[in-house]
């Protein structure tokens, strides 16, 4: 048992020895140690979350050609701490006519639903909360709790803007849940397991899933962005129409919880893209397979990369209208995702026994052809629509002359 490969086991054994020397029963000691581990993991995630506030502000500033926070500490990295102190010290206002219990429960569930996800993230071969055999569905279930928290927040605020914002957000989240679940079905099928750690380990031997299903990875990323309610899918906070959306009535720490939850959610989905499609903890640095610390670095690094991609999209693309948002999902992403699932299932079953290279290349090629056909279809469809739209006007012009 080596410190570099399995520090958790070492700590566990050390604490176990300590507790049993105090005369604690083995079962109780195991529960206490696990509890300590959970508190440690969640605290680490919350510290990461605080850092993300700074990252987000700094990156958006660069996108918009500003400097961003630069006063508190080097590069303004300590800026989140005064922010937190401010949030804690701010008066917390519960509007008159609000449904108190639901109003207070909503931000708790909102941040909680994101924290729950970290129970199943495999940070290293030996560092993970729990290896659930239904890990991917657990991810979807935590998302369901998040949806619930939003509708609770919108309804309990007793504010029309909040309610409309919540409806939009919920319509968005539930719609894009379908392509996301289908995108999750593809790694399940390829690896033959729903356990996230199992999928991570599987890629160690059989190559990155990105090469087997690049379109699946793209699909997951798009639906994750939509699920997060980030631009271009941020209809819940149209400043000109419904002000801040479902959390308009929240102030102080409760608003802070929604905000922290949103940032952490984005990073967590970034980490999931890395874990599910980009080789988990053993890529890009291959020592991650044996060295737990490198593995954690790998996971967080990929999480940051995809978090950056999500931010890049957010600060580049304008907001789309709700009918476009729903049409894009139901008329494009859902049919495409199901077709992709069927194609992947057929070719996976046909090719899986042909050896590593034919299988990988075949799957990649199938995805390329599928993507090309899709683009061609879109192009011809777009051309047809454009011609239809332009035809009457040219006719009218001809009549005019």
């Amino acid at each position: 048992m080596n410190f570099w490969t399995d520090p958790i086991k070492l700590a566990f054994d050390g604490l176990m020895g300590l507790f049993s020397s105090w005369g604690m029963a083995a079962d109780a000691a195991a529960v206490v140690i696990n509890l300590l581990g959970i508190v440690g993991l969640i605290s680490a995630v919350m510290v990461l979350d605080i850092l993300l506030v700074w990252v987000e502000r700094k990156v958006v500033a660069r996108f918009q050609d500003r400097l961003g926070p630069n006063r508190v500490g080097p590069w303004g990295i300590l800026q989140p701490f005064p922010d937190i102190i401010k949030l804690i010290l701010k008066e917390d206002i519960t509007p008159a006519g609000a449904d108190k219990v639901a109003f207070n429960l909503a931000p708790i569930l909102s941040l909680g639903s994101v924290l729950f996800l970290w129970a199943v993230v495999p940070l290293a071969a030996t560092i993970y909360g729990v290896d659930l055999n239904v890990g991917l569905l657990y991810l979807v279930a935590a998302g369901a709790v998040g949806t619930l928290s939003i509708i609770m927040a919108g309804w309990s605020s007793n504010n029309k803007y909040a309610l409309v914002g919540a409806y939009r957000m919920v319509a968005n989240m539930i719609s894009y849940e379908i392509p996301m679940v289908v995108a999750l079905l593809i790694p399940t099928m390829l690896a033959g397991t729903m356990s996230i750690k199992g999928i991570s380990d599987f890629q160690l031997e059989h190559g990155l899933f990105f090469f087997l299903t690049p379109l699946g990875a793209l699909l997951f990323l798009i639906s994750a962005i939509a699920e997060l309610g980030r631009s271009p899918f941020d209809l819940n906070e149209g400043e000109s129409e419904i002000v801040a959306g479902f959390h308009i009535e929240y102030s102080g720490m409760k608003f802070g919880l929604f905000y922290a939850g949103e940032l952490l959610h984005a990073f967590t989905f970034g980490a999931f893209v890395g874990v599910l499609f980009f080789g988990g903890y053993a890529f890009p640095l291959p020592w991650g397979a044996t060295n737990a610390f490198v593995a954690v670095f790998n996971v967080l690094f990929k999480g940051m990369v995809f978090y950056w991609v999500i931010m890049w999209v957010k600060y580049t693309v304008p907001r789309i209208r709700i009918d476009h948002m729903l049409a894009f999902n139901w008329k494009f992403l859902v049919p495409v995702s199901f077709t992709l699932l069927m194609v992947t299932a057929i070719f996976h079953s046909l090719l899986k026994d042909t050896g590593f290279w034919p299988y990988t290349l075949g799957m990649f090629l199938v995805n390329l052809i599928f993507g090309w056909l899709l683009l061609e279809m879109l192009r011809s469809r777009g051309r047809a629509e454009r011609e239809q739209a332009e035809a009457p006007s040219t006719a009218a012009q001809a009549a005019h002359h």
């Binding site: 449904d99 639901a102 659930l132 055999n133 239904v134 569905l137 657990y138 979807v140 279930a141 998302g143 369901a144 709790v145 949806t147 619930l148 509708i151 609770m152 309804w155 919920v170 539930i174 849940e177 729903m194």
Partner: protein, 169 residues
Amino acid sequence: MGAQILFFLCAALILISAIMVVTVRNLIHAALWLIATLFGAALLYASLDASFIAVVQVVVYIGAIAIMFIFAVMLTRRELLIKTDQTNANWPLALGLSAVMLVALGYVIGGFGVTLNTTPAAIPAGVDPLTLLGKALLAPEAYVLPFEVASVLLLAAMVGAVYVAMNKK
């Protein structure tokens, strides 16, 4: 001992929130209490090693069905503004009937006596119920027909529901 405490906590959560579902006046609150009931049931399934059923309970019931209920309550909001009783005139009769039903069911279950197992059956080593479930759902000699029929049922439900909900006079 720990398992029993867990069971009683789950049972208390399920039953208390179920009673709230059928008695509380505000229907949104009733839907939220329903979510608590369903979550308690999910905990129970997890404690019974039925992982898949437990997560599906959360995904389907809390993530979809409860949301549908909340949407439907909001659509028919006028009823919510009525501050009168939410129970109809027959409620004592309903209460009596339910109580009789409970006693009868309790009598029947108590009558089973020793024929019921007192401990869960052992899951053989190396057997993953999840994989078994997948195989059972797809094996022609097992449940492939119910699996496909469920799909047709849902299709029919969607067609019917859409037809009813969309009909514009």
